[in-house]
Assembly symmetry: C2
Homo-oligomer: 245 residues x 2
Amino acid sequence: MTAARPAEIRVSELFGPTIQGEGVLIGLPTVFVRTGGCDYRCSWCDSLHAVDSRYREEWRAMSTEDVWREVTRLSGGTPLMISLSGGNPAIQPLGELIGRGHEEGYGFALETQGSVARDWFADLDVLVLSPKPPSSGMETDWDAFDACLRASGDKPLVVMKVVVFDEADYAYARAAAARYPQLPLYLQPGNHTPPPPEDSDAPIDIDGVMERMRWLVARVTEDRWFEARVLPQLHVLLWGNKRGV
Amino acid sequence: MTAARPAEIRVSELFGPTIQGEGVLIGLPTVFVRTGGCDYRCSWCDSLHAVDSRYREEWRAMSTEDVWREVTRLSGGTPLMISLSGGNPAIQPLGELIGRGHEEGYGFALETQGSVARDWFADLDVLVLSPKPPSSGMETDWDAFDACLRASGDKPLVVMKVVVFDEADYAYARAAAARYPQLPLYLQPGNHTPPPPEDSDAPIDIDGVMERMRWLVARVTEDRWFEARVLPQLHVLLWGNKRGV
């Protein structure tokens, strides 16, 4: 009789180190483990290649040790922050990886919409909950979101990040912030020109992103919403839609 | 006999709220009090209008109450973060202003090269020490820098920020980080096209800034310097050299 094979992690991309381009850890050198598969289908998803099962042939089923070997190679064995993103990384078995990395002094930040709670959220260093506003076409299940918060306990730094394309999204962000006043809040202007999944280096409307960023800054300051932090996707400004940087 | 007039603050600009464009508070809505006068003359200074005494006619001598009235007007009386910058704000009498703002729930972040220590540094919420690298043409007095650290005590969040134009600056930043391993470190690519003081909206070499940013990210990750955070001047990307935004 053979032992059960440990659960495998579906990985769409594994790259870095490069700087984190978004949110609370912006600018920090990071290795990215982008998992494949998502329970959402946001209209403006900028990582469809890691979401749509049409691209699952590009995903690799990796054991924790496979992933760990690759992270170690990329980082040269020097501890750094590892971003677990997706897709929705919460649907992957990542608890063992987090334990493995912590043994060696690495940190873990997970980014998820907050639709699936996992007990290993409590082992993270940073949990970024990114509920999706109306423009995504998705509906937020706040009970599931609350379950994610409960699962994280008091251990990781928990922050909220909301992508904003328009006034309806902005109103959603304000309501979300009012619901969770304890969570530091990051607003991020949306990118109307996400990369088509077949093209890993498609052109991007930088001027549009910057215009939306200026609008968002004006909106926040007019409303005297002084706790919100407004940040663009820095990697998009630096490298456009190019993957792996 | 009349009481001595309280010390006045020399103010070059007072504007906002807009987002903080740099460093640890990047993205946070902020009112900026830019003081006039500096004990340094960095070759690439991007705020010469607040440094060079040729522009002192534009500076206003304001009492704490004058400044406070203006901050209150700009913020609509809603507490937010106030950035004390310059020039070198450490040469201004700002202790009373900090006390006044704290009474009303405002926060204070001060940005200085670390050449002049003041006992009121301990009353700040955030102290950004920004020693100037070789390209500035200035020489760092580390004893004065140490005095700033001592003055701040354990109260404010103290971080270090170093502008980097070239390899010599980068080596300086590494040495500074090794000297103060306890300080979170922010690296910022330099702007080779600072605004001439006579022109508040001069063109800027954004491509050059972005190129230097990409170089800096590569440099940091090649060296596995994973604690350093690399951030551009976001306001420059959004608004160029324009003042008051």
